[in-house]
């Protein structure tokens, strides 16, 4: 509960900082009207007044902040600056957020699907040649920057082998789009899988030295069965924690990977918005990411206390 309160405080602080900085350091009027904002011609002046009225730019900053925050909580992210007649920010977010979410969920699923068997194999053959090779591999993967891995995968699987399409069409059916998301998801998943594998392998090796494993083995339970039925479950605690915490970190990485694979998600939206100095869009995306990040961390804490009763006080 205390953590939840702290999280809400944190999100509020971030929103104030972002809102203040965005408004003080840039001139939103200029972005709505273009050069006309600096004009002194009567018709330009009228436009400026109208825009100020429309976007509440004539009100003091704290009032605008409260208005904006109120709108935000009710799901209205304000109107998009830049060119008039564009859809409001909420529409943009509604269109792009699911794509980023799909990418992230796919990446984490892939990472877990790769990491668990990989860890089981290395733990079963701890410190033998196969395990040594896998250790070197995971070290290389962890050191690999995500954008470099993205370029390599795009080159090998997208261009040389041609297995995956390199364009993302919003009009394609759902399944095709998931297929198009596979390569970027793999880019995010591979280094994450390496991190999970290292962790799970260490925990598995520790568990395999426990007495109840020896007991099971001496009763005649086979090696494979011991590994899957007896050792895996008690070794999963720190894996689950890191899996959760890492979700927040992966959000940042997915912004970059989206841009490389041209997936029109939040990552490309924020880049476009920064280039246009489109404050409402930048603000909305920053707030969504921050909130997601903080919420994931709170959720991980909650899940952790659920699965491990020892943590409860």
């Amino acid at each position: 509960m205390q953590r939840l309160a702290a999280s809400v405080m944190l999100i509020l602080a971030v929103s104030m900082l972002t809102f203040g900085a965005m408004n003080l350091l840039g001139d939103p009027l200029f972005n709505i009207l273009g050069p006309a904002a600096a004009d002194t011609k009567p018709e330009s002046l009228a436009k400026v007044a109208a825009a100020k009225e429309l976007y509440y730019l004539d009100r003091p900053l704290p009032e605008r902040y409260v208005r904006w925050l109120g709108d935000m909580v009710t799901g209205d992210f304000g109107v998009q600056f830049g060119s008039t007649g564009q859809p409001p920010v909420s529409e943009l977010v509604k269109e792009r957020f699911p794509r980023s979410l799909t990418l992230l969920v796919m990446a984490q699923l892939l990472a877990a699907m790769i990491a668990i068997p990989w860890a089981l194999i290395s733990a079963a053959r701890a410190n033998k040649p196969a395990d040594r090779i896998s250790t070197v591999n995971s070290f290389l993967l962890i050191a690999m920057p995500n954008f470099a891995l993205a370029v390599i995968l795009k080159y090998v699987f997208g261009i040389k082998l041609g297995w995956f399409p390199l364009t993302f069409k919003a009009t394609d059916p759902w399944l095709t789009r998931v297929y198009q998301t596979f390569l970027p998801a793999l880019t995010i998943a591979l280094p994450a899988a390496a991190v999970y594998q290292r962790l799970l392998r260490t925990d598995l090796i520790t568990t395999l030295q426990e007495d109840f494993i020896l007991m099971a083995r001496s009763k005649g339970v086979g090696r494979q069965r011991v590994l899957f039925k007896h050792a895996l479950r008690p070794s999963l605690f720190s894996f689950i924690t890191v899996f959760g915490i890492n979700t927040g970190t992966l959000i940042g990485g997915s912004l970059i990977v989206e841009n490389i694979f041209r997936i029109p998600g939040l990552g490309s939206a924020i880049v476009e918005a920064i280039l246009r100095e489109d404050f409402p869009v930048v603000l909305a995306i920053v707030m969504i990411i921050t909130t997601a990040f903080v919420l994931v961390n709170v959720l991980v804490d909650a899940v952790y206390t659920l699965i491990d009763p020892r943590v409860r006080r």
């Binding site: 999280s7 944190l10 602080a13 971030v14 972002t18 900085a21 965005m22 350091l25 840039g26 250790t135 070290f139 290389l140 962890i142 050191a143 690999m144 920057p145 995500n146 954008f147 470099a148 993205a150 370029v151 390599i152 795009k154 080159y155 997208g158 261009i159 390199l166 260490t202 090796i205 927040g248 970190t249 959000i251 940042g252 990485g253 912004l255 970059i256 841009n259 490389i260 990552g267 924020i270 880049v271 920064i274 280039l275 930048v282 920053v286 990411i289 921050t290 990040f293 903080v294 961390n297």
Partner: protein, 280 residues
């Protein structure tokens, strides 16, 4: 990397250090080395750039017929400076506040720890996006932005290490002979905190160099001159990768070897001095 303490640094460590020295020297001396001009257009009559790697252009050229090898070396200047300045700033600010907080405890510690937590619970890339989008995209701004992001992880390690040493006998002994706070921190605690920080500095520099690349892909890296991130970005488009993969792969290889060397060296130093695992 290894599960047991290894009291040898090993030959690979020295290869990694050798590479780091080499690339730093190349970057430092780039203007005086006999390499091509990174901004000159080496057009060949009757052939359209980009040119594939050859004896004249080791890494090939980009679409404007600029020599990729020279650009990668000059890119190292920016990327390495960013990495170095960022982690130096993080060490200076984070290290100082961390050690002081760990030594003084009480209210100072609570305030400092809270600030660290706030920073750590903010997605760091978003903070970097905000600062660079709002301020300019100069070398100093980018380096210091990444430096600010390094403060909390570095500070947390410095604080934890200080806490573990502050109760030891040699600190009590120093206090017993009448040493002041300042003397205890500088003469007794700092030498013990510096070693784990050194390992973290190597890892942190790798993180900062990679972060510059990430910012480049969001269009937020240093505006002037080549950086590793920007060079890879230019070669990363579908058409460029299909026709002239060398544009992206030259800088990728150099960047990867450098990051790998930093990671490996940091890892070895850490297990050599038996520093406990602290996440960055």
């Amino acid at each position: 990397m290894s599960d047991t303490i290894n009291r040898r640094l090993g030959p690979l460590f020295w290869i990694a250090v050798g590479w780091l020295v080499l690339i730093s020297l190349l970057a430092l001396l780039a203007p005086w080395l006999p390499i091509k001009d990174p901004d000159a257009y080496y057009l060949v009559r009757g052939e359209r750039p980009p040119y594939a790697p050859s004896a004249t252009h080791w890494f090939g050229t980009d679409q404007d017929a600029r020599d990729m090898f020279a650009r990668t070396i000059f890119g190292a200047r920016v990327s390495l400076v960013i990495g170095f300045v960022a982690i130096a700033f993080g060490m200076l600010v984070g290290g100082t506040t961390g050690v002081v907080a760990g030594y003084l405890r009480g209210r100072t510690d609570r305030i400092v720890s809270f600030v660290f937590i706030v920073f750590l619970s903010f997605p760091s890339l978003v903070l970097a996006i905000l600062i660079t989008a709002l301020l300019d995209r100069g070398l100093v701004t980018i380096a210091l932005t990444l430096g600010v992001l390094a403060v909390a992880p570095v500070g947390r390690l410095a604080r934890a290490t200080t806490l573990s040493f502050a109760e030891r006998e040699f600190v009590t002994a120093a206090r017993a002979i009448g040493a002041g706070d300042r003397r205890i921190i500088i003469r007794e605690l700092l030498p013990n905190v510096v070693i784990p920080m050194g390992a973290l500095a190597l890892l942190g520099m790798a993180v900062a160099i990679v972060a510059e690349g990430g910012l480049a892909f969001l269009g937020l890296s240093v505006e002037k001159g080549p950086t590793w991130g920007k060079l890879i970005l230019i070669g990363a488009g579908s058409r460029e990768l299909e026709k002239s993969p060398w544009i992206a792969f030259g800088p990728i290889i150099i960047l990867f070897i450098t990051v790998l060397s930093l990671n490996y060296a940091g890892d070895r130093v850490r297990s050599y001095f038996d520093v406990r695992e602290i996440g960055l």
